[in-house]
């Protein structure tokens, strides 16, 4: 697996799905562009204007708590975010991230140490996060989850298992 490098966008604890992607768009927004446009709308309006492909989101505990809406993860993917590093994740967000090929990395010391705007590198081979404060190891994904991320998401991962039943 590759090494990811990007600038850090840093947020606090309990960043919920409503501020990641407001519920009022969840049944009508379609397509990458429209979903991407509303990312973090009620948390940080600067984000969609300034985010660069490869950027990394860094946050505190329980990132993505709240709704099951998958756009909370896909709106980040569609903006080119390469990984989310947090102290912990809401469980459905974590599944949604992995299922869309977005790395969600629980790593409390790195999440605390990384400063806004600094360059962060995620070394997926050695399971290390590198930032100005040093190197922080994180637990490797299980084989299943790694397989899903490497396939680019759940749909691609299980496509081979699905029986056509015309």
């Amino acid at each position: 697996m590759p090494t990811l490098t990007g600038r850090a966008w840093k947020y606090g604890h309990n960043v919920n799905t409503d501020v990641l992607f407001p519920g009022k768009y969840t049944y009508t927004a379609r397509g990458r562009e429209e979903i991407a446009r509303h990312a973090l709308e009620d948390l940080d309006p600067r984000f969609v204007q300034e985010v660069q492909p490869g950027d990394v989101i860094v946050a505190g505990r329980n990132f993505g708590c709240g709704s099951s809406r998958e756009q909370a993860a896909t709106c980040l993917v569609y903006n080119g975010v390469s990984a989310v590093i947090a102290e912990s994740f809401g469980r459905i967000f974590y599944r949604n991230a992995i299922n869309n090929g977005l790395l969600a990395i629980p790593c409390p010391p790195a999440a605390q140490a990384i400063q806004p705007g600094e360059t962060v590198t995620v070394d997926l081979e050695h399971h290390l996060i590198r930032c100005a404060a040093g190197e922080f190891p994180f637990p490797p994904l299980s084989d299943t989850l790694r397989g899903i991320v490497e396939a680019g998401g759940l749909v691609a991962y299980i496509r081979g298992k699905v029986r056509s039943n015309e």
Partner: protein, 454 residues
């Protein structure tokens, strides 16, 4: 000598996941491919269909296990929402989905409970975070994402990790004016919005046993705000009675397919009760828990979750006097008959305060009908309340009561995140139904006793 089998004791989550995975037992941390009994989706079904179409299948693999409600933006507030519903109806027709519930039938968790589509010991996975709700009847309910529902439609299977379990015990009966909602808010306030992260929460104790079913429904529902995977209330005679009555009604109209335990011959109420008891799962007495929290009911009081986080919990008295522009009674958390009854008790013979709106949205058409029969709806309308179409209402900001910037809403819902009701610069306070109704009368957050006795 007889050999006594001494397999290690198991939690509810272990037993439920083992059953859904077709295994004898599972261990905490194990990844298990499960085949859930019911797969739930709602207004998000059209988006899930677009994902499922990527599999190139002509027919979903499990049409009989799919349940779909139109509730989150129903009736549709815009042409785009209407088109979304039209796509869902087309899918339902094309795939022969029988468990489909139209606009106005009510909120998915309430409707599937009323229809007895989920039974004790069964598993429901849903593209809705409050699928934890079904723990009220002793089922395993967990929220999942849209891609995962698409995968379930295609294969019938999904992986789950067996969670650690945590026990929450309520000793004694809740005092008057203190509800299951207050208990849930107290737990989340004490332990944090991530206090139950990834865990299975098992409720027990005399306070839970004494609770009516509608109150029990509040607890697993609200545990979504505690970060849990699922939550569980042990089923008892009350639970079996509720489900048996509703199953008997369904069988009378010829729907027999969902009952996995059914035998040849007609089901009688007695055989239904026996079947339900046989399905139920209970944790073993010496199962392993990562934590046990014990609450004494007599020490609890009404609580409020303040903006913009469900764990920002204070006693009601700490925010009494806060101006209220809108009061909202409804949702899968607190939109049932007992919630409406509690509001009526406060508001009957009084008026909604000038400058305040009081919006009441029954959780289902059955709740609305029962409220009409008992005169509750009449009393609410006479007091100046507005009644909405059964469904989710303004809970997640789609329609029917979106606040203006700067406004304050007191709500019986489960979430008060910034922007949740559609406006980032609006404040949402969460409370029990009587407090919501009393605040509508006073135009400020108030203890219901002050309104009733004042």
């Amino acid at each position: 000598m007889t050999t006594i089998s001494s397999s290690p004791p198991q939690t509810f989550a272990q037993k439920a996941i083992a059953r859904a995975g077709g295994l004898d037992r599972v261990e905490v941390g194990q990844i298990v491919d499960v085949r859930p009994d019911v797969v739930l989706s709602h207004d998000n079904t059209a988006a899930i269909r677009r994902i499922w179409q990527q599999f190139g299948q002509a027919r979903v693999a499990i049409p009989e296990r799919i349940a779909i409600t139109l509730d989150h933006a129903a009736p549709p507030p815009t042409a785009r929402h209407a088109r979304n519903h039209a796509e869902i109806r087309a899918f339902v027709r094309e795939q022969g989905i029988r468990h489909f519930f139209e606009v106005g039938r009510g909120i998915c968790h309430q409707v599937l409970s009323e229809e007895a589509l989920v039974l004790p010991g069964q598993m429901i996975l849903g593209a809705d975070s409050h699928t934890t709700h079904f723990g009220w009847l002793g089922a395993f309910g967990a929220g999942i994402g849209r891609s995962e529902v698409a995968a379930l439609w295609a294969t019938g299977e999904l992986w789950l990790r067996v969670p650690e379990s945590m026990r929450i015990v309520l000793e004694g009966e809740l005092p008057p004016g203190v509800t299951a909602k207050d208990f849930a808010l107290r737990i989340i306030g004490d332990l944090g919005a991530d206090g139950g992260l990834y865990r299975s929460v098992e409720f027990s104790g005399s306070g839970i046993a004494a609770m009516g079913l509608e109150s029990r429904m509040v607890l697993p529902n609200m545990m979504a705000e505690f970060g849990v995977k699922n939550a569980y209330v042990p089923p008892d005679e009350k639970t079996y009675g509720y489900l048996a009555k509703r199953l008997a009604t369904r069988y009378a109209i010829g729907d027999r397919e969902m009952d996995r335990s059914e035998r040849d011959g007609p089901s009688t109420p007695r055989s239904l009760l026996a079947d339900l008891k046989a399905l139920a799962l209970f944790p073993d007495p010496d199962a392993t828990y990562v934590a046990t929290h014990v609450y004494r009911a007599q020490e609890l009081e009404p609580y409020i979750a303040c903006p913009h986080s469900v764990d920002n919990v204070v006693p009601l008295s700490a925010v009494a006097g806060t101006r209220v522009d809108q009061a909202f009674l409804g949702t899968c958390t607190n939109g049932r008959l007992e919630d409406i009854a509690a509001a009526v008790e406060v508001i009957r013979g009084r008026r909604v305060a000038p400058g305040t709106r009081f919006l009441v949205i029954p959780a289902s058409s059955q709740v609305l009908q029962a409220g009409l029969e008992r005169g509750y709806i009449q009393a609410l309308v006479e007091a100046g309340a507005v009644i909405g179409v059964p469904g989710c209402g303004p809970c997640m900001g789609n329609h029917m009561g979106i606040p203006a910037p700067g406004e304050v809403t007191i709500s019986s819902a489960n979430r008060n995140f910034r922007g949740r009701m559609g406006t980032a610069d609006a404040a949402i306070y969460l409370a029990n139904p009587a407090v919501v109704a009393a605040s509508a009368v006073a135009g400020r957050i108030v203890d219901p006793r002050e309104v009733v006795e004042g």
